[in-house]
Symmetry: C2
């Protein structure tokens, strides 16, 4: 998807600041018309980056006029220098757009621990460069180890009015439960209040970016921001200000799909991934317990290497269920690979053949379905396999 | 260490039952004189193997007369068949030694989910084969993906009497906090009661086998058993029956060293390991919090691949501290690689040079020291790096 539609009230530019990379654009500068609201969710890291701290503070205002994102340097673990870099970046952007620094949002991704020279933004952030398309450009500018730009658009009709939701994302490693070196920015013209937008984001982040894991590692900089310019329909439709509004459900569903599709693009681009893996757990004590078991399987190096080796080693799935520490009835556990029943009632299924298992593992998309035989809790998470390529990428990322 | 001394009251044989491997001994059968006490700790997996369940039950009696260990098949997740295999094995051993099945201890390691044919033990477990040495043989018989047998001995003097503590272990992958596909058996002639032996084991397992991780995966079969025949000194020294007895401290320290040394052998033999890594965390809220942070670093694939690549990527250490979810003061964190101060007060240390960092990472033994700036909690854990070789070993273990 390369030609996303315009979103009314959103303009942007991508520029080359030479922060780490050379010969490519590494900065995404977006401007929003007055009246734009914002919602956000961030990393749960206890060492969150200066930009994340800055966004958390500004999010309280609920209003956004600008977004500045750079790749190549995460400006994380840079002490006072990091905070100063964030402030200077916000000042430069605010000056260009004649807005307040409290209306500026920031994100940085790349190497941790190296000071970011924010003076470089002064030369390149220019209001005069702003345009409405094409969205492929910011999707490319925010990439680090990504192998392809990630972007998607969805248009829905509410009250006869077209509502556009565009999303971009980056991330390919350090992707774990509560997000990752994962940045995603969503732009919509939906008329909606900031609090409802935040409530919908909180709800649907759970089944999208918070249901994926590449390698169990969590970045200091994870950020998802949703900007709503509220210009669709030119006041023809009433803004959503109540979560019981039926339009909240319609818009929420579309937002959920955009978030989910972007999250799946991130998993499919997992560092070194050769296979896309869906883990579905049911029969757990609760949905939360199911998710914990599913992530225990998804993050197990032994499960992930078996998948890479196309080995139907379901014993390792049992191991990962066991180590999750959540209630599971060993003698009622069943495991299926796709539609192939592998184990039932705590032992190998009667009709299971190793040959059929091996055949299934040759697929590019693998689904592991587990029933732990306790109750009705269920959850699905998404991951990829662990390959030689992952080691190659990460053993010399900085070189 | 190949020639361990005899332990009075312990005899054993190693035999070839052809369970999975051919052309090598795969069974370790040990017999203990009457009056031998036993202590044990086991996996915390919710899907523990039939042998683990059996040992847990028998441990309540505190008395041991036999031990049967096989490699090649873990007899885990084998349902009722697994329980029957365990019972039959115990019956065969008990008959040979004229003891009760409640005095038999069992362990199995290898592939999960395949039924174990215990009839094979009937031909090979023979009281007439039992001998007092050499300990290298059982250390070899219990190996799976291990590249070398792991055994150690320590002799101490208590009241003028020589006390021998011999230990063997196996394990190279699926090694995580609360143990791993890790089996270890300790044999001593120390006069001691079962409850004190258990108390000492519970204490010192924390700083040995429960402080190591290869890949964060936990086996269904982890077992550490300590057998004390109580024959040293022929009643010349009073048995330890009170944990305040000064001999409990002396013997406990020696037991701790045996456990620690065996645990370190397991880490050094970590699947595909090219480097031995010690992670020391201090300044944490509590010792428990420090251990959680240390394991977060030790288990991070991004930290482990950086070490494999000899990349002094301390930013990933910060990431792993942050994702642990434990209290840490970002702006007071310091990180050292060995004696090289890398980061201080939440940013790169003033005198740190990338060149010195790279030079340090060329060592075979790496130490990462972290101060999280909160309180006085501290812990050390031990791990290895994550290499291409780990992927190769685990992507086709069963083939």
């Amino acid at each position: 998807m390369r030609n996303l539609p315009k979103v009314k009230g959103v303009k942007f530019a991508t520029v080359e600041a030479g922060i780490k990379y050379s010969g490519r654009k590494d900065v995404f500068f977006a401007a929003f018309d007055p009246n734009t609201v914002v919602a956000g969710v961030f990393t749960k890291s206890k060492c969150s980056s200066a930009a994340v701290d800055f966004c958390r503070k500004n999010l309280k205002g609920g209003i956004a006029r600008a977004l500045v994102v750079n790749s190549g340097n995460a400006n994380a673990f840079t002490g006072m220098k990091g905070e100063k870099a964030v402030e200077l970046t916000a000042q430069i952007a605010a000056k260009q757009l004649s807005c307040d620094v409290s209306e500026v949002f920031l994100a940085s991704t790349g190497v941790i621990g190296e000071p970011l020279d924010a003076e470089k933004f002064r030369q390149v952030l220019k209001a005069s460069d702003l345009q409405s398309t094409p969205y492929i450009e910011p999707a490319k500018a925010i990439m680090t180890t990504d192998t392809y730009p990630k972007l998607i658009s969805k248009t829905i009709q509410i009250g006869g009015v077209d509502i556009v939701i565009n999303g971009i994302a980056k991330g390919a490693g350090m992707i774990a439960p509560d997000m990752a070196t994962m940045l995603s920015f969503i732009f919509t013209d939906m008329p909606i209040s900031a609090d409802i937008l935040q409530a919908l984001l909180n709800k649907y982040i759970k089944t999208s970016f918070n249901s994926i894991s590449i390698d169990s590692d969590t970045s200091t900089s994870d950020t998802v921001l949703v900007f709503a310019t509220r210009q669709a329909g030119n006041s023809k439709i009433a803004p959503i200000t109540d979560k019981k509004d039926k339009n909240a459900k319609i818009f929420g569903k579309a937002l959920a799909e955009v978030l989910f599709d972007l999250a799946m693009m991130v998993v499919r681009d997992g560092e070194g991934a050769s296979k896309f893996v869906k883990i579905s757990v049911k029969g757990a004590k609760s949905n939360k317990s199911a998710k914990k078991i599913a992530f225990s399987i998804a993050n197990s190096p032994l499960v992930k290497t078996a998948i890479a080796g196309e080995d139907a080693n379901w014993g390792r799935v049992v191991m990962a269920i066991g180590k999750a520490g959540e209630p599971a009835n060993r003698d009622k556990i069943s495991i299926a690979f796709g539609s192939l029943l592998v184990a039932k009632n705590g032992e190998a299924a009667a009709n299971y053949s190793e040959k059929a298992g091996s055949e299934y593992m040759k697929n590019n998309d693998i689904e592991i379905i587990v029933d732990v035989g306790i109750n009705k809790g269920k959850a699905s998470v998404y991951t990829c396999d662990l390959t030689h390529e992952y080691i190659s990428i990460n053993a010399d990322y900085r070189s």
